[in-house]
C-alpha cells in the first residue's frame, strides 16, 4: 500500500576539522510496493543515514525522501513507519508488552485496540508467553524479536530495518531471517532492510539496491528473480543469484580501491 521514493538524496556530515564530508551522493531509488527492498553496501557506507532520512530522524541537505501511500481517497493520512534497530534498543526497565505499548502510545493508536494487537504480534514473533518478562531476562534472539514485534505492532505501512540480524549468532540470525520473511509476506508489508551481508540481501530482498561507500552512491538496482517462497539457500538458482550479487559488490569494491 505504500512505497518509498528517494530522489537524489544528498547529506553532508560535519567533520572534526570543520570541513564537510559527503555521506550521501545523489542517492535515488524506489522501493517495491509490498515486499522487501534491501539496501546492500559495505559497513559505514551511509546506509543507516539513509534509513534515518527515510524515517525523518535525519534531515537531508538536498533531495527528497517520500513515503507514498496509495490510499485512494485518504490522501491526507501520513504514512506510518515502523523501525527495527540493530541492537534492539528496548526499554529494559519495561516489560516486553510495555515496550510494545510504548510504541502504540507514541503512534497514537486507540487504547482499546492494544490488547488485541499485543496478542497478535507477540504471537507472530513467538513471544506470547514472555509478555510479562523484562528484556534483560531474555536471550539476544528473543530481544531482537521484541524489537521486531514493536516495529510491527503499530501496523506500519513501511517497516524500516537497520541490520536487525547482524548482532546475532549465525544460527539465530538464520532462523530469524526465515521467520521475518514469512511474517512480512503474510502481513503484506513494505519493508526496507539495510544490510552488508550479500546472502542476507539475496534471501530477504525482492529488490536489492547496491550502494558503494564514502560517499554512498547507488551502483545497481536488481530485482530478485525468485519469489520469497522459492528462496532456499541450498537451491542452485538461489546460489546463482547470490553469485551475481556478490560479483556486483566485488566489482564495486575494486573500483573503489582504484579510485582511492
Amino acid at each position: 500500500m505504500a512505497y518509498v521514493h528517494v530522489d537524489s538524496a544528498v547529506k553532508y556530515f560535519a567533520r572534526e576539522d570543520g570541513g564537510d564530508m559527503l555521506v550521501l551522493d545523489r542517492v535515488s531509488f524506489d522501493t517495491r510496493e509490498f515486499g522487501t527492498t534491501c539496501l546492500l553496501g559495505p559497513s559505514g557506507c551511509g546506509k543507516s543515514t539513509l534509513l534515518n532520512a527515510i524515517s525523518g530522524l535525519e534531515r537531508l541537505d538536498q533531495g527528497r525522501v517520500e513515503v507514498i501511500a496509495n490510499h485512494g481517497a485518504s490522501k491526507l493520512h501520513t504514512p506510518r513507519l515502523g523501525y527495527v534497530f540493530q541492537d534492539p534498543r528496548l526499554l529494559n526497565w519495561k516489560r516486553v508488552e510495555e515496550n510494545l505499548t510504548f510504541a502504540l502510545k507514541g503512534m497514537g493508536i486507540p487504547q482499546q485496540q492494544w490488547p488485541e494487537r499485543l496478542e497478535k504480534y507477540l504471537g507472530i514473533v513467538g513471544l506470547a508467553e514472555f509478555r510479562k518478562q523484562f528484556p534483560l531476562y531474555l536471550s539476544g534472539g528473543m530481544r531482537q524479536r521484541v524489537g521486531l514485534a514493536r516495529g510491527l505492532v503499530i501496523e506500519p505501512e513501511v517497516l524500516l530495518m537497520d541490520e536487525p540480524f547482524s548482532k546475532l549468532d549465525q544460527l539465530t540470525a538464520r532462523r530469524l531471517r526465515e521467520e521475518t520473511l514469512r511474517i512480512c509476506g503474510r502481513l503484506k508489508q513494505t519493508t526496507v532492510l539495510v544490510t552488508h551481508d550479500v546472502e542476507e540481501a539475496a534471501y530477504m530482498g525482492d529488490r536489492i539496491v547496491i550502494l558503494r561507500a564514502r560517499p554512498a552512491r547507488v551502483i545497481e538496482i536488481l530485482d530478485n528473480p525468485l519469489s520469497p517462497g522459492e528462496r532456499d539457500i541450498d537451491d542452485s538458482r538461489f546460489i546463482q543469484f547470490k553469485k551475481t550479487l556478490l560479483q556486483s559488490v566485488l566489482r564495486l569494491m575494486e573500483t573503489n580501491e582504484v579510485q582511492s
Binding site: S139, R174, R175, E178
Partner: protein, 289 residues
C-alpha cells in the same frame, strides 16, 4: 566459505527444531535465604564488635569521657520512654525532609538541563562546583543571619548545602544517557512527556538513588549544626545541651538514637526503594564474593 555454509545448513536445521532463545532459568533456590541470613549476621556481628571496642575503651578513660555502653543504652531507653525522642527527632527529621525535598526539586531539573544543554552546563558549572566546596557551617551561619532563627533558615541551610551534590550527580547521570534510545523514542513519535518519564528518568534512577544516599548523609550533618546555633529543639540542640552539662552519656545517647533512625532509613526505606526500581535488572553477583 562453501564448507562453512554446509556446516551451517546441517546444524541450522537442528537449531530450528530445538528452538532458540530460552529464558534464563530462575535463580538458584538454595542461595537467597542463606545469603540473606549471612548478610544480616555479618552486619549484626559488626555492630557487636563496635560495642566491644567501646566497652574496652571504658577501661582506659573516665566515665565522663567514655560512658559505659550499658549506661548509655539505658539513657537511650529513657529518652525514648519520656517521649522526648519523638518530638526532638520529629523536629530534626522535618527539617531534613523539607530541606531535602526543596533541594531535589531544584537539583533534578538543574542537573538534567546541565547534562543536555552545553551552554547552560558551562554557565552553571562554576556555581555548582563552588557550592560543593562551601562548608555547610557557612551556609548555616548565612541562612540564620539572613532569615533569622526560625524553621525557614533550617530548611534553607539544608537545601542549599546538599543541592550542588545532588545537581552534580544528576548532571553526570544525564550525560551518560543512551542517545540511541532517544532516537528510538523519536522514531515511534513518543511525546516529550513520555520521553522524560519512560526513557530518561528510568536511566537516571540509580543516579538519583545514589544522590539521595549522599544527600541525606550530608543533610543530617548540616541540620545538627543549624540546631546547635540556638534552636530550642531537635537532636542538635539536645547534643549541645548534653555538652553544656558535660554529660557525655547524653551526647552519646542522642547520637545513637540518631544513628538508629538513619540505619532504618538507609537499609529499610532506600534499600526497599532500590530493589523495587531495579528489579528489571538481573542480579549477577558472580564477580562479588
Amino acid at each position: 566459505m562453501a564448507l562453512n555454509e554446509k556446516a551451517l545448513v546441517a546444524t541450522g536445521e537442528a537449531g530450528a527444531m530445538a528452538g532458540e532463545g530460552v529464558a534464563l532459568p530462575p535463580r538458584t533456590q538454595t542461595g537467597p535465604a542463606w545469603e540473606a541470613a549471612k548478610t544480616v549476621g555479618l552486619r549484626a556481628g559488626s555492630i557487636v564488635a563496635m560495642m566491644i571496642v567501646w566497652w574496652l575503651l571504658t577501661f582506659f578513660f573516665p566515665p565522663t569521657l567514655i560512658p559505659h555502653p550499658i549506661d548509655t543504652l539505658m539513657e537511650v531507653g529513657a529518652i525514648v520512654n519520656t517521649g522526648q525522642f519523638l518530638s526532638e527527632m520529629g523536629a530534626t527529621l522535618r527539617r531534613v525532609g523539607v530541606g531535602f525535598a526543596i533541594a531535589m526539586l531544584i537539583a533534578v531539573p538543574l542537573g538534567i538541563v546541565m547534562g543536555t544543554i552545553k551552554s547552560l552546563e558551562n554557565f552553571f558549572e562554576p556555581p555548582v562546583i563552588l557550592g560543593l566546596t562551601m562548608p555547610g557551617l557557612v551556609w548555616a551561619v548565612m541562612a540564620i543571619m539572613f532569615l533569622g532563627l526560625n524553621e525557614t533558615s533550617a530548611y534553607a541551610a539544608v537545601a542549599i548545602t546538599i543541592m550542588p551534590m545532588l545537581a552534580i550527580s544528576l548532571w553526570q547521570g544525564t550525560k551518560s544517557i543512551d542517545k540511541d534510545l532517544i532516537d528510538m523514542s523519536t522514531a515511534f513519535h513518543a511525546s516529550a512527556w513520555s520521553k522524560v518519564v519512560d526513557v530518561i528518568l528510568p536511566q537516571l534512577v540509580s543516579h538519583i538513588l545514589a544522590a539521595i544516599r549522599y544527600g541525606l548523609g550530608l543533610a543530617w550533618k548540616v541540620v545538627v549544626v543549624v540546631e546547635m546555633f540556638g534552636f530550642s529543639n531537635g537532636v542538635g540542640y539536645q547534643v549541645v545541651r548534653g555538652f553544656n552539662v558535660f554529660s557525655m552519656k547524653q551526647v552519646m545517647a542522642w547520637a545513637i538514637t540518631f544513628l538508629v533512625v538513619m540505619i532504618v532509613i538507609e537499609f529499610g526505606i532506600i534499600g526497599w526503594l532500590e530493589s523495587r526500581v531495579t528489579r528489571w535488572r538481573p542480579r549477577i553477583q558472580a564477580w562479588r564474593r
